[in-house]
Symmetry: C2
């Protein structure tokens, strides 16, 4: 089997971009003609996947939206996972963080049952909370490092040892957890300030970054790609959700999503050639 980084490199070479389409399925935003329920959510996701799968390096289902639909929502998640073709990576956006057999149970849910390539995790409980996920070869567990919301300053920007910020310590420490494992640790790095991406990239030159906050959230795509790639020239996924999903509120939503995805990939291409 190829490592996650290898699969990501292939996906970038195949599509020309590092686009991750975030499946944040908000029922209130379903286009005209799509039911505002679990069945509608599945129809919607399948159409989006169908129309963008040659452009998307990865899809990132957001667990919250499926959980908020109850058991039917988890069934939708299972079904849509099957609709994602093998050449696209699957990142489960879960931001879990627990320990021991609880952490093992989450790892099983995502890596065994849902056959994800990747999961997002929270670092607060430290190494113990990530270790069980690293038992799954060729996966990448993305640990929250620097997020793009205003209150990221509450804790992530606190100065800790040696004048470092907490998010920098998280970057270095979490990257170290993958040593000797057959799985990778990646980092979630928000796109609001390119300077931080540049600094983090120097700190951990070979760690895969998952970058949300481009698109509706206002990040600068070109700056991210200029500063964010790993030393091998790949190693980055840029997530866009709403700009693609809700490009049209009419029955042409899937084609409109494709137009947006194409536009994003076109903007990405020069950075990978």
């Amino acid at each position: 089997m190829a490592t996650f980084s290898d699969k990501l490199k292939s996906a970038i070479q195949r599509t020309g971009g590092c686009l991750c389409v975030g499946l944040d399925v908000d029922l209130a935003k379903m286009p005209a003609g799509v039911a505002k329920d679990a069945t509608g959510a599945l129809t919607f996701c399948r159409s989006i996947i169908e129309s963008t799968q040659d452009l998307a390096a990865a899809y990132k289902p957001n667990l919250a939206f499926f959980e908020s639909l109850g058991p039917a929502g988890l069934k939708v998640l299972e079904d849509l996972r099957k609709a994602i073709p093998a050449h696209c990576l699957v990142v489960m956006d879960a931001k879990r963080g627990d320990i021991g057999n609880t952490s093992q149970a989450y790892a099983k849910a995502f890596y065994e049952n849902l056959k994800a390539d990747s999961v997002t995790l929270s670092p607060y409980m430290g190494k113990d909370s990530v270790d069980p996920f690293l038992e799954y070869p060729d996966t990448c567990s993305f640990v929250l490092c620097l997020t793009s919301n205003p209150s990221s300053a509450d804790f992530q920007f606190q100065t800790v040892a040696n004048g470092k910020k907490l998010y920098e310590l998280v970057a270095q420490t979490a990257t170290g957890w993958a040593k000797g494992k057959k799985a990778e640790v990646g980092l979630v790095v928000g796109a609001t300030q390119i300077q931080y991406i540049r600094d983090l990239r120097q700190l951990v030159p070979d760690t895969v970054f998952l970058v949300p906050g481009v698109g509706t959230q206002g990040g600068d795509l070109q700056g991210v790609l200029k500063e964010g790639k790993t030393r091998n020239g790949f190693g980055i996924l840029v997530n866009v959700s709403r700009q693609v999903l809700y490009a049209s509120s009419g029955p042409d939503y899937a084609q409109a999503a494709r137009v947006q995805a194409q536009k994003l990939v076109d903007e990405m291409k020069p950075f990978f050639s």
Copy 2:
């Protein structure tokens, strides 16, 4: 409606203790005669609840174990929630932490769909990630503060501003998020070192603590109760999972669970009278 703290006080007065029974339903540990599947998990939880409901102030379902059973697991969670009588509090142990409409979706899943009184959350993304939960009156969102696992030292014990540790900053900051809200913020505080509970209690004298790590994990129940109550003499929940759930691996598991719960409540009683 009564606040969460009021409901907790009533529950402690009713049972004599502050016992929270953690529903960490591990299929591998199902007693003889109980099926190792979703149906078995429901039967098991219902029996435990039935036999301990006059002793338990609260129940804490652990989301990971239900999620690892797929859609059927979420259905079990819904059904077992209905089996918990109104006089017991329900804490959903989810340790979620995300922002914006994602956080809203999780809050809806737990506080609307599952009608929880309380949820556990991770602090890493700061205030934004907790705010949507505080829109639900009379609930208590327990934010991870100090956990009882070895790698809590990775980040929680880092020294931040003014010589404070990160977990102390989390305690003070997160407690402040509840200001002006109709909901409470509580803290998850591990029981491995009584000294820390004492210090935290001085820092935030009126914040409800959820204390795991007593029982199988080895915490000192009497020390916790001596140091951990709020100024009103209540305001603490001590979680015990395995010691109660898996007290017997035979068909008498529910009665054995009751014996253990009774033992714990007897040990708690002197601290609340």
